[in-house]
Amino acid sequence: MDMHAIEFANVSLCVGGDTLLRKVDGRVPKGRIVALIGPSGSGKSTLLSLCNLMRTPTSGEVFVEGREVRTWPVRKLRQKVAMVFQSPTMFPGTVADNLSFGLHLHGLSLSNPAGLLEDVGLNSSLLDKRAEDLSGGQKQRVALGRTLAMQPDILLLDEVTSALDVHAKLEVERTILSLHESRGTSMLWVTHDLAQARRIADIIFFMDAGELVEVRDDAAAFFEQPQSAPAQRFLATMREGDGVE
């Protein structure tokens, strides 16, 4: 089997009578960035949560590097496929404590917290500051650093910049892209910001009502000429809403 970073094979998820995902097929090639876009409630975050086994599909299979997620040791999988959430959770303690939090869970320590903090675009003087006192953008970068400390091969990003102001958003985005370049991390990035999707994506996944209705290898072409009717409607609505081209 060709070793994709992630592969969804006929994945469906039903919870309490609601179908959240319906027969999703798709592949995230190694070292590429896939932007996952679509209307609210279309199943983007749910699809993301299948990749590190935070949820399990009702039917179908999800492969990480060719191995079905349910056959991975769970904790090893979550080290390899790391997730950054929309709202960064800071644990009690300093920024340094938070950066090493994930490694401590595995009985490891962080050798160079200052270097890691600078990698995510923050000054190392913040290390001894209480994590709770940071701004939203700084917290998100510390959460990113905490995840990167695990040295994941695949990064799941769930609307990580949606709660940030424009400046912080671009800073975090730049940080992630430079890390992608230096480490070659494969990424599945949920965003509702179409301009951002256009800037960061190698590949576009467009979801609607739990279905993956369009996959495009050329992100720019998707925004110029969406092929599916739901994507055309979605882009038209979004353009009307905020003037995204």
Partner: protein, 257 residues
């Protein structure tokens, strides 16, 4: 006290019912039901205990303890119906609490092996452990609902369910113990505890009554601690499934907010 004398105390029930009707509190029916239930239950228990005390048969003592543990389990279980398999875990916690405290009380010859000591103390220890267990389960479910994102962040970083839940489990165990600790701290200052009052009314010396009361308070403290901690550690794995996902309702997988 004769039944005729006891019947005069119904005036207190009448006062409660009267106040409820006058102020339209709507609890008069519950007051009457509570009074009738308490009367029936205690009268029956009184006769059963009389029989058991006279029989002095180990099997009857064990049957009474089993009844106490079962009723307490059934009552505490109502606090956590969403956690599957919680019933036997509560029962086991209460049983271990009962066995450990009674083993120490009897083993150290603090009390003699007589039904009136063993059964009365079992009721008080298991009853308080039941309350602590109920508070623990309530708080644990509240913590999971309120701290879902923290718990899932730990899981997503590859932490174990135990690592994810431990800070919240500690809070729940503390919450289960605080009422017992607080009531122990203020005992004798706010109210005279039941055992002590009963012994004094029955004619015992207050100094002797205090000694019994202290023994009971310490047993209750230990019993509540054993039950809360044991139940906490038995209950938390039920909040996660095989894939180490947080499950907060039976059969329903959690969703991130």
């Amino acid at each position: 006290m004769s039944f005729a004398t006891l019947s005069f105390t119904l005036v207190f029930v009448a006062i409660s019912v009267g106040l409820s009707i006058w102020l339209r509190l709507g609890v008069q029916r519950d007051v009457v039901i509570a009074a009738v239930r308490a009367t029936i239950q205690l009268v029956i228990v009184g006769y059963i205990l009389k029989f058991v005390f006279q029989a002095h048969n180990v099997l009857f003592i064990l049957a009474m303890i089993a009844l106490i543990v079962c009723v307490a389990t059934w009552n505490a279980r109502s606090r956590a119906r969403h956690i599957s398999g919680i019933g036997w875990r509560i029962g086991l916690s209460l049983l271990v609490t009962e066995v450990v405290t009674q083993a120490l009380l009897l083993g150290l010859h603090i009390i003699p092996f007589q039904p009136r000591y063993v059964i009365s103390l079992s009721g008080m220890i298991v009853g308080n452990a039941m309350v602590a267990s109920g508070v623990l389960l309530n708080r644990l479910q509240g913590e999971v609902a309120n701290k879902q994102s923290e718990i899932e962040t730990v899981l997503a970083l590859g932490g174990s369910p135990r690592q994810a839940i431990y800070p919240h489990l500690k809070q729940a165990i503390r919450a289960g113990l605080i009422p017992t600790i607080d009531s122990t701290k203020t005992t004798g200052l706010v109210q005279l505890p039941g055992t002590m009052s009963g012994l004094i009314i029955a004619g015992a010396s207050p100094v002797q009554a205090v000694r019994y009361q202290l023994m009971i308070l310490f047993c209750i403290l230990a019993g509540s601690a054993i039950a809360s901690i044991l139940l906490g550690f038995l209950a938390y794995p039920r909040l996660f499934n095989h894939y180490e996902q947080l499950v907060y309702e039976e059969g329903v997988q959690s969703g991130r907010r």
